[in-house]
Symmetry: C3
């Protein structure tokens, strides 16, 4: 897989989307604004921090070097503050937002892991960690049994399908990165959406 | 901000103070001495390990390279063992001890983050993580909803105010480090103390 | 202590054994296969990831560079799938399996920490983290009060005794590595087994 980096807006976009879902979680739990910001931070940056800080471990995480990541989290907090009165109507909409972030972060994680020279199965694992790590940290910090252990959610499965097909498409089929990215995000989004619709 | 390191005794002092609070937590929960040592270790070194191991990520954490950190934890365990009979009388005293450690660790974290080339908002975040990380890990490991999510404690706010003023004082006002350190510790200590007094 | 690496089969063996115990935990909790794999991964690789990703912090963790670690986890999942019908009969057997993995991972952790230039007390701590980290992460993720805080299990004590005697044997008595390894694993296994028999 080429040591190619994805455009930064995919990263910022996924951070923003996940920060919103973290902030909504805090609002639903009636946390104050400190809890809201902490959960938005964990949800938005947690997966990437685990990826860079533990699994790749090559200098300071991207989220700490470019201030844009933290501004994306703050933008997510503000967006959640505006939207939260419409939660009832927008609940399902945020599940789709989350499904999109899931696909985007999986692709980002697998790309960075492969570029850092990790083994192929490790690249798939790191993609999944990048995708689900934020919600895992959020659940652990709020003392909740992690969402991803609940059967029938296909949360991990959707991320895994996207990351595995991404690694296969770039490594074995040698598809151009720009095509492989959208195939992988599409597969994750479809798998997760189908599980939302049929549950 | 100059790549200046603070005197090591601030670091050892904060480790010692936080190790005491972790050990007191274990004593109040009737853990055996293994649990006491593990909680003292997490409380004393957890914030610094998160800082060095995840957020800065530049070689082995300071706490692993200098044996003095682990001796500070052991000294904290012994001190807690001596004091624990007087817990009833000293409870409030330890809240002030904790407030002092909170300020000291925030300053240490922000200094190290800035010296490692992290972005300015990231330096503030890392200072806060350094300050509150130990108690966060302690709460997660003991399966408690983290203390810092409880409204009205101003725990994160106090650390944030100290770290932000520290970064502002050194970066924008160009105050000497020795003055900025005590301003920041003073702000954190005052903010936290006021919330203790009025709650 | 020489910067000597242990044969890789000790590492793979401990990963396999701990992945089995993680998978059995998931089966007992009626998780689906995603939960089973996630817990096997955390139990099998968690201690080593904490060691490399946080405490030693020198490039990507071993478990991410050699695909063999992930295959060991998958082999552990398959083995647990075959054995789980015999859980009632094999429960005690798995406690011994776990005690063996505990000793092996403690030795691996202390060796790698000393080779990375950590202080001597830090090498003992990292050995213990390597040994108990997987089960700690498993307990945190499943929202359980960590097993190792329960009094009378001697889980941490057994790992600590093994790691401390290992560091003492190689550093002070200058015993050959091949002898020190088996002494340390033997001490951990015996200490843990005695606590199982008498509880």
């Amino acid at each position: 897989m080429p040591a190619l980096s994805l455009p930064l807006y995919i990263d910022f976009g996924a951070t923003f989307l996940f920060a919103i879902t973290g902030a909504m979680f805090a609002i639903r739990r009636h946390y104050d604004w400190v809890g809201l910001f902490v959960l938005a931070l964990c949800s938005g940056l947690g997966g990437g921090l685990l990826r860079d800080g533990i699994f790749i471990n090559d200098g300071a995480p991207a989220a700490m070097r470019h201030a844009g990541y933290l501004w994306s989290v703050i933008a997510g907090c503000i967006a959640a503050g505006f939207f939260h009165r419409h939660v009832g109507k927008l609940d399902r909409f945020f599940l789709y937002v989350d499904a999109l972030g899931l696909g985007a972060y999986g692709v980002v994680g697998s790309t960075k892991a492969a570029a850092a020279g990790l083994s192929l199965p490790a690249s798939i694992v790191v993609g999944v960690v990048n995708a689900v790590g934020g919600s895992l940290i959020r659940d652990v910090l709020t003392n909740t049994e992690p969402f991803l252990f609940k059967p029938g959610q296909f949360y991990v499965v959707a991320a895994l399908a996207g990351c595995a097909s991404y690694v296969a498409a770039t490594e074995w089929l040698h598809l151009p990165l720009s095509i492989a990215v959208w195939i992988a995000i599409g597969i994750t989004f479809t798998a997760r959406t189908l599980s939302i619709v049929f549950n």
